[in-house]
Point group: C2
């Protein structure tokens, strides 16, 4: 009696699809929790947090287009978020010296203070959400994710 050959090519695409669905479930779940806590505990949103985080790494501010480049969102999107952050007094726009087309977005002192608080909580939340993984497991997972990223970043 002969065995059929294992259809390896078909199986791996199913394995990868299954992996993708699990990955999506994990990250969507974590993201939903982060959004909820930002909203309920700090009356803010993830996109606002992301903008504050980017600006906090550039004390001299970032041009609007650089900001949208780092965050991988559209220019028009950043315009709206910075508008709202500025209304709240967390950021401000300065004219770019030497280029009257460009605007530089910066944190205000209030913005920096708000971000510091948010960042501390954010790290705690993430730690709690990934509490199921030991340090070793987290490192293995990170390594595999990096490998997937490396292959994906080619195009």
């Amino acid at each position: 009696m002969t065995l059929k050959p294992k259809p390896a090519t078909e199986l791996i695409s199913k394995t990868r699809l299954r992996l993708w669905l699990k990955l999506l479930k994990l990250t969507s779940g974590i993201e939903a929790t982060l959004r909820r806590r930002l909203r309920d505990d700090h009356d803010t949103t993830l996109p606002r947090f992301d903008v504050l985080a980017a600006l906090s790494r550039y004390p001299d501010g970032l041009k609007m287009s650089d900001l949208s480049g780092y965050l991988k969102v559209s220019n028009g999107n950043v315009t709206g978020i910075v508008d709202r952050l500025t209304e709240e007094g967390l950021t401000l726009r300065v004219a770019s010296p030497g280029d009257r087309r460009a605007q530089v977005a910066r944190l205000t002192p209030k913005g920096r203070a708000a971000f510091d608080t948010l960042a501390r909580h954010h790290e705690t939340w993430v730690d709690d959400l990934l509490t199921g993984l030991s340090a070793d497991e987290a490192e293995t997972l990170t390594r595999l994710v990096e490998k997937a990223l490396a292959a994906q970043e080619q195009p």
Copy 2:
């Protein structure tokens, strides 16, 4: 000469935060590619695809609230997406027999055909995007993600 004790508790939270940022980068990147291909190649969106996928598993249709439950999105959100899918002729609403409050959303034959095509492409895209991982690596990754999910799903 004495060595300082390793601050293990602090390190693991940093390890987990790093993992989270990598995970987010991987899934956001994959999701962005899937959205772009759905738009450019099939003139549709990921939320529409998700609704079609859910309905395709229930030939008799799903109540609007069950649909929003499965997809983990709000009721009002599902109302809008099904509105648009119905305008496009891919879904329809039927009155729920025995409960005049409820609506059942179903695929039309056109909707089923559209989903079948999309699903084939979707699987190929995901396979390509995760091509950096061998079958073994994908399985290890899946197992670790499942472990993280199990711990996270408690609350």
